[in-house]
Amino acid sequence: MSADADITCREVVELLSSYLDGELPASLRARVEAHLAACDGCTMVVDELRETIRLTGALTEDRLTEAQAATLLAAFRGWAAGA
């Protein structure tokens, strides 16, 4: 067992967003990776979080109403005419 074995599943799952975003410092990243290599449960959660992020990316944004778009375009024209 390595000296890095002190990081628990409970701790690892709290780091997985930062891990997936590439935001962990190198030493901590290495400890998380060592843990994941040996832990099926945490590997499952990181796979599912990755899939969650991908599915979230498929959401569409609300649309502007035509009235909102018209109001903002009028504001732009007013600004451009006065600029």
Binding site: M44, E48, L55, L73, F76
Partner: protein
């Protein structure tokens, strides 16, 4: 940490706006206004006031274009103007919204349910005691189904407003963590915690959804 500077695209867009290019303006407005509306709504009491904040923001953006130096990305700069105007407007309305109300009151504890893990007196403290339902490998067409995306949308709609906006800007719009914390005036830690909280809850909603599908 140094700020993410404006891209070449941002600077080109600013030039087009200065030249009065309506198409460029409408592309920008269409992409950003829905998120701006939700953010404004965190600080002011009604949709009507939020719309006024948005108008004021875009006018402020246009009038301030000559002062845009590209030290931050264009969208970050626009959101900062928005948040300032919305906060001022909210204060004038006598509306003060505590950060905990926007961010959720669950930020101090862990994102994952502690009861899923072994206790301190266990031989393997902090290890899994109950594994979540494994929904990996659900058939691709099922994972892509409109119903799945609807589950994600509902889970995000149920989040505290700031958690919802952080996950939307990061994972729907693809903003960087730095852009989001600058745009929404969040500390680095808060941005990170809000995002992880939000993703964890959406993952949980998907787990519940796929379990019920599997058991049906």
């Amino acid at each position: 940490m140094a700020e993410q500077r404006a891209s070449r695209d941002d600077l080109a867009l600013v030039e087009r706006l200065r030249a009065g290019d309506e198409d460029a303006f409408m592309v920008l407005v269409t992409g950003l206004t829905p998120a701006m509306r939700r953010v404004a709504r965190m600080y002011v009491s009604t949709d009507a006031v939020a719309d006024e904040v948005i108008q004021e923001t875009w006018l402020g953006v246009l009038q301030g274009l000559d002062g845009f130096e590209g030290r931050a990305s264009l969208r970050t700069w626009i959101f900062r103007i928005l948040v300032n105007i919305a906060k001022t407007r909210g204060q004038r309305e006598g509306r003060s919204v505590p950060f905990a109300t926007l961010a959720g009151d669950d930020l101090d504890g862990p994102a994952f349910d502690p009861s899923s893990f072994r206790g301190a007196d266990d031989a393997l403290p902090g290890g899994w005691s109950t594994l979540p339902f494994d929904w990996r490998g659900m058939p691709e067409e099922r994972a892509e189904a409109a119903e799945t995306i609807r589950v994600v949308g509902l889970a995000i709609a149920a989040l505290p407003q700031m958690q919802a906006e952080v996950i939307r800007l990061r994972d729907v719009h693809g903003w960087s963590s730095e852009e989001v914390r600058n745009a929404l005036d969040l500390s680095e830690t808060n941005q990170r915690v809000l995002l992880h909280r939000a993703r964890t809850k959406v993952r949980r909603a998907l787990e519940d959804h796929f379990r019920s599908v599997a058991e049906a």
